[in-house]
Symmetry: C2
Subunit: 432 residues, 2 copies
Amino acid sequence: MSGPKVQLLLTGNELMTGDIVDSNSAMMAQVLKDIGLSVNRKVTVADDLALLVDEITYMANTSDILIINGGLGPTVDDLTAQALALSIGEELTQHPEALVHLTHWCQQRGAELNAPNLKQAILPNGCQIIANKNGSAVGFSVRYKDCDIYCTPGVPHELKVMLTEQIIPIISAGLPLNLITDITRLQVFGIGESSLQKIINEQLPNWPEGIELGFRAGMPLLEVKLTIKTEQGLALKSPWKEKLINALGDHMIGEIKGKPKPLAEHLINQLQQHNLKVTTAESCSGGLIASKLTEVSGSSAVFEAGFVTYSNQMKTTMLDVPKSIFEKEGAVSEAVVVAMAKGSLTKSNADLTIAVSGVAGPNGGSDDKPVGTVWFAWGSMDNIKTQCLLLPYNRLQFQQFVAAIGLDLLRRYQKKSTTKPNYIVERAFPDK
Amino acid sequence: MSGPKVQLLLTGNELMTGDIVDSNSAMMAQVLKDIGLSVNRKVTVADDLALLVDEITYMANTSDILIINGGLGPTVDDLTAQALALSIGEELTQHPEALVHLTHWCQQRGAELNAPNLKQAILPNGCQIIANKNGSAVGFSVRYKDCDIYCTPGVPHELKVMLTEQIIPIISAGLPLNLITDITRLQVFGIGESSLQKIINEQLPNWPEGIELGFRAGMPLLEVKLTIKTEQGLALKSPWKEKLINALGDHMIGEIKGKPKPLAEHLINQLQQHNLKVTTAESCSGGLIASKLTEVSGSSAVFEAGFVTYSNQMKTTMLDVPKSIFEKEGAVSEAVVVAMAKGSLTKSNADLTIAVSGVAGPNGGSDDKPVGTVWFAWGSMDNIKTQCLLLPYNRLQFQQFVAAIGLDLLRRYQKKSTTKPNYIVERAFPDK
């Protein structure tokens, strides 16, 4: 990496005790990566003045950019300004711009500007203020021994806004012009890393070197990432992105712009466009599919009701599943999920349904239906599809996978997809 | 702190890129805290040999205990053994005990012991092996310049088992005898930090200094923590713990031994003991309460069915809510949730039910029923309670709170509790 050397210094007792997990530094690394910078080293220490001064002094000497996170608050624990002043040999003084911010902040909230608040305006002499839209603590920066030092608040959403809106533009402006980073992120489901590699090898064997392909496994949606760092790569982006999207086919769910959307939201948008209503008939997933759908704002336009039929008797009472099927086929069977699917369509007047029945475990498995076995039935009254899968995970993961697969099966059904997703693995049943 | 000085060194490119959030170091800090040790400093670097050697050398010189996490795998990126060997000036050699472990590991899995695997047995001369129950990478430790250095795997569950079962006992055995840490953790719900403080002040004014009271806000369950570090404190533990539990009353859900149990599991155990069945009638929570219940293994003993009635029409179809109520009172009303509760009991033959209807937002609010308004009805057919709350959170948080409060209301109902939980705030309705 030929770019500047970046280090992070995180401070906070709660980070040292393990009472909170540090997600700030991962976010910072991601945001920096988007402008082509990588973090070289990060150090975390408690709110201890001597330790902070030592680290700042060493890190300023060994990096081009140092971002300090935390310790900007009003209490005596918050030592960043003091430590920085000592490290760079400057006095602490009241900063007029910071005072204006604090006064305004308190006025807006009808609060008194008290001594602890005032402390947040006492900063190292000569520093530049960085605005904080969402909190009382302003950020500040200094240049010391060829290192740009940025002090940022520990509250995650304050940090994120300050970083992306204020600090990143300053850092970017100072970067050599040949540093390019263009990132495209595609959400996919039903395809794994090795299958993606196979698709590339077989269908796109001349994939250009200038477009780096990455793959991140998520739960449940996965992400394919195209990173471009050169002008040549940039020139090739548009046609190769299109080729990749074509090759991904129905595994591709959408391009991520900003925050990734959950699978249920994609499905709901798709159903809303076609004016279709959906219902659910859940046994082993116990309401999770309905819950995922109703997490999405606006879901009421496509979802009116879900049936959580956990016992056999309630499958009969609520969805008219004939009692005889349980005796003949068992509760986890194709016949039961088909009857559940039909019952849910009849009772709800929905156009589409997803029905599931399985063995979530840890108990209840048998030789021919081990823990992890699940039957799906989905579609519309005149065209119901079925599939049995074995998902050998713990109870919670099993339920999460069942819900994600259920939503994806409906998504593919509505698109009339004929591509087989990876999670559909034909397996030999011990009995058959 | 008079105990030994502990530092952590974390290695891994994925930690530097922000592709994963480091939760290992928080877990390590928590486990160390349980034996009275605090982490002084932690450093994270990429998989880079020169950087690793620098850090190990410096950290070994400035701490009594150094735990290195990550970099034990079979690939060329995994550099911990090599870096440690260089730092302490020892050769790398094949360790016979590590080889036995690897051979056994591969045999069990019917896998071949190949060159990358063999690399995991090449360790610094003179190191001690630390067993890894759950992975191919053994841990190892050396003593260098009065510092005990422990190298541990990056995979979280391998680390956790190795740390708690192997490393902590070794560290504990070497600690001065006067270091005591006895921690009791109580799960509570329906009480906040300031109310807890008020209870202590009013009911237990002579709370002993030797028992430190802590409070951790979780989602949704909260935790009250008693930390004892002295013999005197230990002698007072039993009576004061009992007094506190009495004072907490029905806000107390249980003592945490090992992994905290979810609220639904407490409720299910309670219902199972009394042979009671429960059902759910959900509008704004969209199946989340049913899903929380069925996440618990063994929930089928108390839960047979849940009704997700998202539209008015389906509240009528599935739960016999009279249409006239919607016109008169609106979907978010006491009359509707009472009718939903009764309908769900009739249709499911359950003993207890929880019914909810609210405005999850971000749209759909009105002046008299703003976003966040929710009506609850719960209990048995002959005794249905109701409550309206305003929970002004975003959609996902709103649904999570509704589910947690719904489960807690049932828990308190079954216990015939008369203590009012904090979340019940009587509010003036604009209309009334």
